[in-house]
Amino acid sequence: MKTKYLMLANGSVYKGQGFGADHDVMAELVFNTGMSGYQESITDLSYRGEMIVFTYPLIGNYGINRDDFESLHPAAAAIVVHEIARRPSNWRKMMSLPEWAEKNDLPGISGVDTRALTKELREEGAMKAALVDEVTDEAWERLAAFNKDTNMVADATTKTQYQSPNDGPSVALIDFGLKNSILRSLAKRGVNVMVFPSTVDAKTVVAANPDGVLLSNGPGDPADVDYAIPMIQELQEAVPLMAICMGHQLFAIANGATTYKMKYGHRGFNHAIRREGQDRLDFTSQNHGYAVDRDSLAGTNLEITHEEINDGTVEGLHLKDHDAFSVQFHPDAAPGPHDAEYLFDEFLKSIEENQKKGVTHA
């Protein structure tokens, strides 16, 4: 196996063995603490432009299967692991992770002290990194000059509108880089889904006559997607709205709040969330590097519905006097616990009630 190097913006270098695609890559380096679910994470479009360090040391144990993709292609820019399984084993396995990575142009490095690396990221925050064949002055210069793509949603979103037909209520799903798990969660509930590109305007959406709107997750800084704000502002007045992850951040901005970049984000699924007015807490699947600024909520019509129990991160919002709510985490899970899946049911219930209201008013 070929020797590769992981160079960090702070000057650290980790040596390891390359696998998958054999080309240099630069991206923001983040860590994920899930002990399973690498296939879902690697193909989660929210990881676009990011290189994922898996803190669990054995990755690839059950290979890659047909069903657990969150998008068709690798979303992460590269993956960093301690060890890749020699012989993956699972009844659903189609091929090994390195085989798949090679076929799908995903570079990787193994043999890295991922714990030491994670601690660096914890202390200094997510940072730029390069995965290279050789550590050269030129490589350092390139890394220093590297700027993260600010147009990632544009790359991640669907280029055209499409439908995932079903017999239930119709939901317009605005795609900022959506995970298949959101489609699965809706399909399971019989929802007729109409997917729109992130650049869609409210008029187009309303013209499709949806019963509700769902803003999806997506990669990068919500500030880069400010073009979607007017659309959201309009739609939240029209039909019940639910928003997830990037969608949650955009929903907050649309209602006067601001967001900030977290030091190293939440990526994993062992974080518990407290929901306002509910004793029981939920474990949630998370993948976010930005969060809604709690202080910025003052004076807005937003109220906090969910928060992370350790660091108090704003994890859910509700717009007063509206059927509109958002969560920072993924009720659609994949990977991670299903504890908060009921939010989809609540969303559909609000749609149903809204429809009833519509009938009475008519």
Partner: protein
């Protein structure tokens, strides 16, 4: 929800003696729980019959009762203490069953005592087979097709319908006692009848076999707010079919995709929520390796062995958090003690791999059936942590202390490949080594998978290790291959062997020269996401070392490794006490140990915990980093003491008794010299290095002789032989005699045994108390009932014991502890054995004399003088109460092991009975040992010729008490000839009127059976003993124990005499 203010005093029930299936893990959980409740301000009353535990230390609870865990005694304690509540879920099955009994007896209602944690109804729903089945059906959670049988016929009918094999699980038994897999009608009839017998509710579950499925375990917590979380997921290396306590287990799960993990997590949380458990639960599941189909196998509504493992594997202290939940706190109110900043409401993320391997007693019980099934046979376990599976596995292998460092140390040279393949199923304890050898011999992973159903992922890990072996052989002295081997867990010793180098030391030096040294990583529950303060580390070969050495001088304490026959929880007790003393003296206390069940491996006990194998290499790696001012080896049993010399050779300071003096006590010749110089009486003894030499020695000494190998652990391979023939047989069967490994031959003196623990600083030698054994010499001291203070020893003998012990302590330069054993022959005390370390009696004698031996010994090792601590040379004043320590056996779990007691230790645990008189104390000891003390009934005598005279007196006493006498022909005739009424039973094969049948018919209440030293294998005797054990009838194989038992019976009854 804040903690409850309406309760103040809480009673915690311990789990009693260590038996197979219920070991030190409950000392760990009980100790944690008691401390956790105290921390919240509650007054804690603790009851346990096991004196060898930390939890029964006076510092752990506000009040400690070392009393039998029986309904009567519990009731008495409850009436006296009037606690507001009982926490029963931390004392294993024993604790739960007692809580159930107390509730059913109406005592809890009468005294208004609440059961904390899990409600009884939930316990019943989880444990009662019928209710459990109903619950699962209600929840739509699948369980294997099964039937609850109360009669054998029902069991057979089910199997006829669903086909064999079927699994038999008796209700409410420890560690699956009495269970098994039946492959045909005959096996089912046998296992099911036995299971019905053993089940207190005469109920067995007959279940369709799902052997071969992946066995998955989840440790789950829930609080009163319905918060529920998974602390750990674990996957068994061995598929369903082998008891999880007998399986190699890894955490987290390795071969499951997230979809499967979440599916099973959903099921686990659904179950704990439906049961409304407040605390921890262990849920065992089986997953079809080829589909999403899964089955729920078992739910344990309490902390368990698995939860102890999960706590150590993740750092998440389940018992501690469970106790807090039980008093009303919720998970988001409890701080995660590992990070100190985050909440207990989180699911640990691991960034390492944990491997657990059980420790089986087959090295001691050579006749036992080594096949593994649904009945647990292991006495203990080891855990190891690595950054990959291979590293974890090899570290665990060398932690086992079974004479094996690497997989290549057990290669079955005399076995054909075919034999090995045939032996894979049903599995034996050594299957891992067979797998490695088969891969070495070129068998494919596919072949092995087909036979064993072990996942190819795991088999490949073994194959990888075998490949590395070959790579090392092919690249001698190559640093790159060395580095790779170290990253995969290889020991220096293994590498030396594969390289053909002389010693591990050579590899070590070369390795260090190449800069290949281990780093230590922290176990922090959060995969480094948050900063943690946990001083809990494991070694690996990687980049960053996280174990920062402090400026304070430190002391390293070596633990005692896995629990096994001869080395039990007693040593963990001593280890923990040593740590307390080291901290009190101002040093940093560092522990190294490999046993996940123990208190010593709770990271909150020491300043720093290294969860590591206890081999020379692993200890030296830690001392290289920590540079402790010294190492304490006296408390870790034979494990640690064996490391003293090699550590000293490497320049490590051994605290306390010097290595030279340790050797003088352990080396036979040197020790004889000491005895001679002190002019102490000692049974005549010699050493032999050949078979002929042994014969010659035995003839010189005169038969019977006691024979054993030189370095011993718990009387391993020790036997009494009576003639040349037996001696030759022993030499061939039991030992490999050589110049390096001589055998010791001693005259076997008949008489009582006594022992003392001596605390010495080199000048002052304190004897806290003399312990007198009930059984005479010939029965291992660990298997004898022991009494303090002595009841029958003459003043002269006491003085001899005290003087000899003091002189020995001085002559052997003992600094710390030493144990001396004596045989009292014709009113004279002969020295029979000296162990220059803390012995298994340390907790017992410390508790009954209130002299904290281990702590004092540690202070002495650190330089304090006993005189300054207020102690004088000599025997400490005696207690006015009488205390009896009684051995506990696990014969029900090991059917093929002969229960006849002898010089080989067989017990797994101990209990204590204390009271104002010997009979009262004995009574408690018997009750605590779960030996029924009948008021009347039938006694069977079947004794060796040499014992008949003595047996007559005992039979007479039984007769006087109104017991009816039964006997086998020879014994019976003798008793009849001496005027006793006896019903004679036939030989087993002669008719149905035989002892076996009588036992099965519950006709006998006591069995007294002894055999001549030379007819030990006598078949009827063995079958009678096995039947007595099976049927739960008190069995005595030593007449001295019968005498004690009669003392108790007599003290409890009035005499009825005619005028």
């Amino acid at each position: 929800m804040p903690k409850r203010q309406d309760i103040h005093k809480i009673l915690v029930i311990g789990s009693g003696p260590i038996v197979i299936g219920q070991a030190a893990e409950f000392d760990y959980s009980g100790t944690q729980a008691a401390l956790s409740l105290k921390e919240e301000g509650y007054s804690v009353v603790l009851v346990n019959s096991n004196p060898a535990t930390i939890m029964t230390d006076s510092e752990i609870a506000d009040k400690v009762y070392i009393e039998p865990l029986s309904l009567d005694f519990l009731e008495q304690i409850l009436r006296k203490e009037r606690p507001d509540a009982i926490l029963p879920t931390l004392g294993g099955q024993t604790g739960l069953n007692l809580a159930k009994d107390l509730s059913e007896a109406g005592i809890l209602d009468e005294l208004h005592i609440e059961l904390l944690g899990t409600k009884l109804s939930a316990i019943e729903e989880a444990e009662d087979r019928e209710e459990f089945k109903e619950l699962m059906e209600r929840l739509h959670e699948p369980i294997p097709e099964s039937v609850i049988a109360t009669h054998l016929d029902e069991a057979l009918e089910f199997a006829d319908q669903y086909g064999y094999p079927v699994i038999v699980r008796p209700a409410y038994t420890l560690g699956g006692t009495g269970g098994g897999i039946a492959h045909n009608h005959q096996e089912l009839a046998e296992i099911a009848s036995n299971g019905l017998e053993l089940s207190p509710v005469t109920q067995v579950l007959i279940e369709r076999s799902i052997a071969g499925f992946k066995e998955i375990e989840f440790e789950v917590m829930r609080d009163a707010h319905d918060n529920a979380l998974v602390v750990a997921s674990m996957e068994n290396f061995d598929p369903v079919g082998i008891h999880t306590g007998d399986s190699i287990v890894t955490a987290p799960v390795q071969t499951l995709s997230d979809r499967e993990v979440q599916m099973m997590r959903d099921a686990a949380l659904k179950i704990i929520r439906a049961l409304k458990i407040e605390g921890g639960v262990n849920i065992q599941m089986a997953l079809d390796p080829k589909s999403y189909n899964y089955y729920i196998i078992e739910v344990n509504p309490r902390v368990s062995r698995s939860s102890a493992l999960a706590s150590k594997a993740t750092g998440y202290p389940i018992a501690k958090v469970s106790a807090k939940i039980a008093v009303g706190l919720t998970l988001d109110e409890i701080i995660n003690p590992v990070t100190g900043t985050t909440k207990a409401e989180f699911e640990p993320a691991l960034d390492y791999v944990v491997v657990k391997i059980p420790r089986w007693p087959f090295d001691k019980f050579v006749t036992a059936d080594r096949h593994l099934g649904t009945q647990m046979k292991a006495t203990g376990e080891v855990m190891a942590i690595g950054r990959n599976f291979e590293e974890g596995l090899l570290k665990a292998v060398r932690s086992l202390e079974i004479g094996v460092i690497g997989l290549d140390d057990m290669t079955f040279p005399d076995w054909s490949t075919e034999d090995l393949l045939d032996s894979l199923m049903p599995a034996r304890d050594d299957r891992l080594f067979m797998l490695a050898e088969l891969l070495r011999r070129g068998e494919s992973i596919e072949t092995l998978h087909k036979i064993t159903k072990i996942d190819e992922f795991f088999l490949d890990k073994v194959a990888h290790l075998v490949e590395i072996e070959q790579d090392l052989k092919d690249h001698v002295g190559d640093a790159d291959y060395l580095d790779y081997a170290k990253k995969n867990g290889f020991a220096d010793q293994t590498i030396a062997k594969l390289w053909g180098w002389q010693s591990a030391q050579d590899v070590r030096e070369f390795r260090k020269g190449q800069g290949i040294t281990p780093v230590y990583k922290m176990v922090d529950t959060v995969a480094a996401e948050f900063e943690s303060q946990t001083p809990y580390y494991y070694s690996t070969y990687e980049q960053e070392n996280e174990s920062i050495v402090s400026d304070r001088p430190s002391v390293l304490v070596l633990g005692s490794g896995p629990i096994r026959i001869g080395q039990g929880v007693e040593f963990d007790y001593a280890t923990v006490h040593a740590v307390e003393a080291i901290q009190a003296a101002g040093y940093e206390a560092i522990i190294m140990n490999s046993n996940p069940e123990t208190v010593s491996t709770d990271f909150s006990i020491s300043d720093k915990l290294y969860f590591e194998p206890l081999t020379l290499e692993d200890v030296l790696n830690v001392t290289d980093l920590e540079k402790p001012m010294g190492v304490v080896v006296q408390f870790g049993g034979q494990t640690a003491i064996n490391l003293a010399e090699p550590l000293a050779e490497n320049g490590i300071k051994i605290l306390g008794t010097s290595v030279e003096n340790l050797n003088r006590a352990e080396d036979r010749e040197a020790f004889d010299q000491v005895i001679k110089e002190l002019n102490l009486p000692q049974p005549k003894g010699m050493t032999a290095t050949t078979v002929d030499g042994a014969l010659e020695a035995a003839q010189k000494i005169g038969y019977p002789v006691l024979i054993r190998p030189s370095y011993v652990l718990g009387g391993r391979a020790m036997e009494i032989v009576v003639d040349d023939h037996e001696l030759k047989d022993y030499m061939q069967r039991a030992v490999k005699v050589s110049h390096d490994h001589p055998v010791l031959i001693d005259s076997y003196l008949i008489g009582q045994e006594a022992e003392v623990d001596v605390l010495s600083d080199g000048q002052t030698a304190v004897i806290p108390g003399i312990m007198e054994h009930i059984e005479r010499a010939g029965i291992h001291s660990g298997d004898s009932m022991s009494v303090y203070p002595p009841q029958y020893l003459s003043e002269k003998v006491r003085k001899e014991i005290v003087d000899a012990s003091i002189n020995l302590a001085k002559a052997l330069g003992t600094v710390g502890l030493m144990n001396v054993q004596f045989v009292i022959h014709e009113d004279k005390a002969y020295v029979i054995e000296v162990n220059p370390r803390a012995s298994r009696t340390v907790p017992f004698i410390s508790k009954v004399t209130h002299i904290p031996l281990a702590q004092l010994a540690t202070r002495v090792m650190l330089g304090e003088k006993l005189a300054d601590l207020g102690y004088k040379t000599g025997l400490a004043p005696e207690d006015d109460k009488v205390h009896v320590k009684a051995p506990i056996f696990s014969f029900t779990k090991l059917p093929a092991v002969d229960s006849l007691l002898g010089p080989e230790m067989k017990s797994t645990g101990e209990v204590m009975g204390s009271d104002t008189t010997l009979p009262k104390a004995l009574y408690k000891a018997f009750i605590a040992s779960n030996i029924q003390v009948p008021q009347y009934g039938n006694v069977l005598f079947t004794v060796a010729d040499g014992d008949k005279e003595e047996a007559l007196q005992l039979a007479q006493r039984f007769n006087d008490l109104g017991f009816s006498l039964y006997a086998t022909a020879g014994t019976g005739q003798y008793l009849i000839d001496h005027g006793l009424p006896v019903e004679i039973l036939d030989k087993i094969d002669e008719s149905d009127n035989n002892p076996l049948q009588a036992l099965r018919d519950q006709k006998l209440q006591v069995v007294v059976n002894t055999t001549q030293v030379d007819d030990r294998a006598e078949e009827d005797g063995q079958r009678i003993r096995a039947a007595a054990i099976e049927n739960g009838v008190p069995l005595f194989t030593a007449l001295d124990t019968v005498k004690a038992f009669l003392d108790v019976l007599e003290s409890r009854s009035f005499t009825v005499n005619e005028l």
